[in-house]
């Protein structure tokens, strides 16, 4: 157990290091010491290899800023709905959140939690599996992974 944990940590730090390296290399102009804002946002999850930052289109195309201010109220309302057992309402709110930010792992996680709470383990698993493609932090990925088992 302890050994596997150690191995896991070792593995993770290696992968993380690799990703930092790859990410730095994948920028358009990589001055070695300057971290690139794009990667800063998306870096933490080892499983995501960020594609090179797109060379700006005619008007600069920044990476999508996270519409977190818009999402938070919906996630909060969905949480309340789940808490009182109104899963349908919770899922409706979460689908709205997903339309606003389709790449949000937090929304997938909340959906998986809601499906699980409503007793639909199969949907919980499928939703979490899909969410795994979007998670950006270990905590988030692990939380999602827990629903896939």
């Amino acid at each position: 157990m302890a050994l596997s944990h150690l191995l896991y940590l070792l593995f993770r730090s290696t992968v993380l290091g690799l990703v930092v390296l790859l990410a730095a290399c994948s920028t358009v102009t990589p001055p070695a010491s300057v971290p690139v804002p794009v990667e800063k946002q998306q870096l933490p999850e080892p499983k995501i290899v960020t594609p090179p930052a797109p060379v700006p289109r005619a008007p600069p195309r920044p990476t999508t800023p996270s519409p977190s201010a818009a999402l938070q109220p919906l996630l909060a309302q969905a949480g309340q709905a789940t808490a009182r057992g109104d899963y349908e309402q919770a899922l409706a709110l979460l689908e709205r959140a997903q339309r606003i930010d389709p790449g949000s792992a937090a929304v997938y996680l909340a959906m998986a939690q809601t499906h699980r709470a409503s007793g639909d383990a199969a949907q919980a698993r499928a939703t979490a599996e899909r969410g795994l493609l979007y998670c950006v932090s270990d905590a988030q990925c692990n939380a999602l992974r827990a629903y896939t088992r």
Binding site: S26, P52, E88, I100
Partner: protein, 753 residues
């Protein structure tokens, strides 16, 4: 004496009984059908509401267009709901508010500030709004019985002046009478006697409605009496306002090609390109005047007569004190004010068609008949506008002679929602909905099913597996031996699996499909969501069968979503008059294909547009904007297909002829252009590269498929499911350096950096 009186009494009694029976019959007819007719006027279909929040990818033009479709009026400073003013980088508007199933959006003055192509902030007064929804665009109504779509209004939304003007001209005593007017009847009888036929006139609004609903246009006394009886019964059953509303939505006001223009809301769109509420007095008067003779006073064909009639209406309105004499004089001085060229589209027939078909059967009859049903859909007017203009632009260039047809389906693959649909080149006209009903062979669009089947067997296949693109003869029981050909009629020898898909080699694909077994390909298509029209024969491998653009969208949707099958949805929610949700259509995922195999397929589909048959997309898209897709061409270029996705949208486009004739186009020279033209303007997000667990990337020799080192001849990086990597290695030693990903993306997807 007594006998005579008795006879009279008997006759009178008999007449009464007959009349009573007739009344009962007519009453039954009215209650049975009028409720249904009224309810037909109320199953409303809405587009998705536009979400506004800081960071949303939306241009000022997009928002302005959405508000325009919603009928907001441009003013210098918005003061009441439905008004908007625009500045260079911001829009101020007075939101109308809307009751959504879960919550209500209030009426309020809103300022949206933009920075480039994004919303910078949404404010009301000094207060920041985190998230709000506009009122949703009303697409039309669904009439369950006839399946036609209309633009309908509620009486509350009909301007007062218009209502009063209508009553002043058509039926002065509408709010007093019982369905008929004695004077009118007397006049009708008198005229009848004089001219030996019943001439029109003298009909109340109620009578006209009855006539429109139930009766033929023959002019006999019996029909006139039936009309009066039914009008009285109608008045007994329904309130004046309900009758007036139905009339406003029902009255016939001319033709739009093959389609009858019923109702003032549709007529307002048809003749003026605006909603009824947006029209000015002189336009209202013209519409009211047209009731008397929609073709006689047609402003397009008989502008002189229409103008005279309009001015008579204005005079009547002034006489009846609906408007002041000054208003009448001003309006009389106005031109007709037609605006057919730039008119807004009155309906989206192809999408409504999809909604109608996706309504569950039990909703068609009973629940739709509940007055006040609302159907909320995923339709996106902004994407629809782009899809139509892209279709127009590309088709005008490809086929100025108007011989070819085109259809497209657009979805947001994260949620599986259909957001735009073109059923033909003339999207405005209801008609053959090719997006749903054209059933054609799909050509190479089906090939991903073969390659996915292979990639799901990592023990046997990887992207670097060497396939043989050499001639073969396929002998199936009961069929002639079949020798497939490549498009260029050449054989390409040994090719790597991903190259065979990228170049759409038929020989290699047919060999691979035969090795895997046709049944397994049929099974894969079913897992991707395509179950109808799939023939269980070898020709399937090269796209035989009958598939609609919607079928292909279903297939590519599953691929784009990473192997999760979701039914393509157009309906989000059905809500009753009280705002209670009757039925939700929740998002449901079903994992049907392995994530890793789909990941490898994505890679190959990216290669299609970078180095294969789909390279043409980058004549439209920015070089660094990652997408994945596949071309499809059927025999002799009868059908030209392209299916593909970016980071947010999936689209399938088809071009062909209704008579199934030769188009002279391949997928790459035809449908691809519609697709890429659309995507380059509509998609806001390139396809991201997200690697699932158990995938590793390795340097491969592009000729032999062996492992090799970075910087070695023909080296390129490919992803592999762990354990499926090639066993053999070239002699070239790996170079020690760690900048792999960049080179890899540049060599394959970076677009030559």
């Amino acid at each position: 004496m007594f006998r005579t009186r008795h006879l009279v009494f008997k006759l009178a009694f008999f007449a009464l009984v007959v009349l009573g029976l007739l009344m009962i019959y007519l009453d039954a007819r009215i209650t049975a059908t009028f409720s249904e007719k009224m309810s037909e006027l109320s199953a409303k279909v809405y587009a998705r509401p536009l979400e506004l929040f800081a960071g949303a990818a939306l241009t000022p033009d997009d928002l302005a267009y959405e508000l325009q479709v919603l009928g907001y009026r441009t003013v210098s400073a918005p003061r009441s709901p439905g008004e908007v003013s625009r500045d260079a980088s911001r829009l101020d508007f007075y939101a109308r508010g809307f009751h959504f199933p879960e919550e209500s959006e209030p009426e309020r003055l809103v300022r949206v500030e933009f920075s480039g192509n994004r919303i910078k902030g949404v404010l009301t007064g000094d207060k920041r709004i985190d998230l709000m929804r506009l009122d949703p665009v009303w697409l039309g109504g669904i009439v369950p019985r006839q399946g036609e779509d209309r633009v309908l209004v509620e009486l509350d939304d009909v301007p007062q002046v218009f209502q009063q003007g209508l009553i002043a001209v058509e039926d002065r005593s509408f709010y007093q009478h019982w369905g008929f007017s004695i004077g009118g009847i007397a006049r009708a009888i008198f005229n009848n006697l004089r001219s030996r036929q019943v001439v029109s006139g003298g009909s109340t609004i109620t009578q006209q409605l009855v006539k429109n609903y139930y009766l033929t246009s023959e002019r006999t006394l019996v029909r006139k009496l039936t009309e009066v009886l039914m009008a009285v019964l109608l008045e007994l059953h329904y309130a004046k306002d309900q009758i007036l509303e139905s009339y406003i939505n029902e009255v016939y006001l001319g033709q739009d090609g093959p389609r009858a223009v019923h109702g003032f809301a549709l007529a307002a769109q048809h003749y003026f390109g605006r909603s009824l509420e947006q029209l000015d007095l002189h336009q209202h008067a013209l519409l009211i005047g047209m009731i008397k003779g929609p073709s006689l006073y047609n402003p397009e064909r008989n502008p002189e007569r229409a103008l005279q009639r309009r001015n008579v209406v204005l005079e009547v309105m002034a006489m009846q004190d609906v408007i002041t004499p000054e208003q009448a004089a001003t309006a009389r001085a106005m031109p007709l004010g037609l605006n057919r060229k730039q008119r807004m589209r009155d309906s989206f027939p192809a999408f409504l068609d999809l909604v109608r078909r996706q309504l569950p059967k039990d909703y068609r009859e009973e629940d739709l008949a509940n007055r006040g049903l609302s159907i909320f859909t995923s339709f996106d007017p902004l994407l629809q506008r782009q899809l139509e203009s892209s279709t127009d632009a590309v088709m005008a260039q490809l086929d100025p002679g108007d011989k070819l047809q085109s259809a497209s389906v657009v979805t947001r693959f994260d949620t599986g929602e259909v957001v735009a649909l073109a059923g033909g080149r003339k999207a405005r006209y209801a008609g053959f909905n090719r997006a749903l009903d054209a059933r054609r062979p799909a050509g190479s669009l089906l090939k991903p099913a073969i390659y996915l089947t292979a990639l799901e067997r990592p023990g046997q296949y990887s992207l670097a597996t060497v396939l043989s693109d050499t001639p073969l003869t396929i002998r199936a029981a009961g069929a002639k031996p079949w020798q497939p050909q490549n498009y260029d009629r050449k054989a390409h020898g040994d090719v790597l699996l991903y190259q065979a898909l990228a170049q759409s080699y038929n020989l290699a694909s047919a060999r691979l499909g035969m090795a895997l077994g046709v049944d397994n390909i049929v099974d894969m298509l079913a897992r991707l969501g395509v179950e109808q029209g799939v023939p269980r024969t070898p020709a399937l491998l090269l796209g035989a069968g009958e598939y609609s653009p919607l079928d292909m969208a279903t297939m590519y949707q599953t691929i784009a979503a990473g192997g999760f099958r979701m039914p393509l949805r157009s309906i989000r929610d059905i809500v009753d008059a009280n705002g209670e949700s009757l039925k939700r259509y929740p998002l449901e995922y079903e994992r049907t294909v392995g994530l890793q195999a789909v990941h490898l397929l994505h890679f190959a589909l990216r290669a299609v547009v970078r180095e294969g048959t789909g390279q043409g997309v980058y004549r439209y898209l920015p070089e660094n904007f990652a997408v994945a897709g596949k071309t499809g061409t059927t025999n002799d270029g009868r059908d030209s297909w392209f299916a593909g996705f970016s980071g947010d949208l999936l689209a399938v486009s088809w071009i062909g002829r209704d008579d199934n004739g030769v188009t002279g186009l391949t997928g790459g020279t035809g449908a691809l252009k519609v697709w890429a033209h659309f995507m380059s303007r509509a998609s806001k997000l390139p396809l991201a590269y997200r690697m699932p667990d158990d995938i590793q990337t390795l340097w491969i020799d592009d000729q032999s498929g062996y492992l090799t080192g970075e910087g070695c001849p023909n080296s390129r990086m490919l992803p592999f499911i762990t354990g499926s990597e090639p066993r053999q290695r070239t002699d070239c030693a790996p170079r020690d350096s760690g900048s792999g990903v960049k080179d890899w993306f540049e060599s394959l997807f970076g677009g030559g950096g």
